[in-house]
Symmetry: C2
Subunit: 148 residues, 2 copies
DNA sequence: AAAATAAGTCAATATGACTGACGTAAATTT
DNA sequence: AAATTTACGTCAGTCATATTGACTTATTTT
């Protein structure tokens, strides 16, 4: 049994999320804000429903953090041009800056890890993580990541 | 920038933790209980201090979940034979069963992922996750995982 | 016109984490 | 032998993130 990977996933994820936490704390934000900011930043024009599906949280859980991010000028909302019920989400310059800063931090940790490893490790890591996702969710995730 | 891996880590970890969550809910336990039960199960005779170091939570956060696990008969405490201030933690048969059931579930997901991948992927995944850990923490983690 | 959808909101609650302080027993240091 | 440190437990209060379930409004679809 791959108990080593079970435990390593716990420790790797713990430290992976700790990098942004430090910066987020300065802004009075938490991990929930980070996740929202990240996916809006990478997918401008995302709808609230899409975000709920990605994060797998309830509307009420999202509402609080999203409202904060909007009120404090990190995220913008505008009605969909076709369907005006929709609120399309985009980052402001301020939000984009913060999102990119957090992404750079996490990317650096990953790059350092890969730099210590054999050629082709990025691809193997990608495949491994991809296959850890529920089969019926993989398509959605692949589509989301593609245009990154 | 390896943004794909940043996002895949999020989705992989989300689904990885969702397997145990279902079972834990039946027992009235959460993830915090799982983590405690797991590390005690894999490291019989663990001290409370060790557990605090591994989980990186405060004594007060640990206290509630540990107390529940003890009260409900999943974990046993006994004074250290050398240093009687210590409370060495072990699982009961009940606790061991639950821990193994949860581990099997997570192991299955990992094994299925690796089965879909080239030979040697386990080793690459292990290295990747290991290098994602803070350098100054790697020794402790390696030591912990070794006797698994 | 009726039904469905996207989004927002209300109230109440649970879980897992935190800080800071204090107490006790046992071991170690001075 | 006394003082200090360590391991553990506990009290009180707080915060962040999540939940369920119900209800409203605006808009689009049937």
């Amino acid at each position: 049994m791959p108990i080593d990977l079970i435990e390593l996933l716990f420790f790797a994820y713990r430290d992976f999320t700790s990098d942004p936490d430090t910066i987020l704390a300065e802004f009075g934000f938490g991990r929930a804000h980070h996740r929202v900011l990240h996916f809006v930043s990478r997918n401008p024009g995302l709808r609230v429903t899409d975000l709920l599906g990605i994060l797998r949280i309830t509307k009420q859980s999202l509402a609080r953090v999203l409202k904060q991010l909007i009120d404090e000028g990190y995220i913008l909302q505008e009605p969909g041009p076709v369907d005006r019920r929709e609120r399309l989400l985009t980052t402001t310059a301020l939000g984009q800056d913060l999102a990119e800063r957090l992404t750079r931090l996490q990317a650096r940790r990953i790059q350092r890890a890969l730099a210590a490893m054999p050629e082709g490790s990025h691809e193997i890591a990608r495949q491994f993580l991809y296959h850890m996702i529920d089969p019926d969710q993989r398509g959605d995730v692949a589509r989301l990541i593609e245009h990154s």
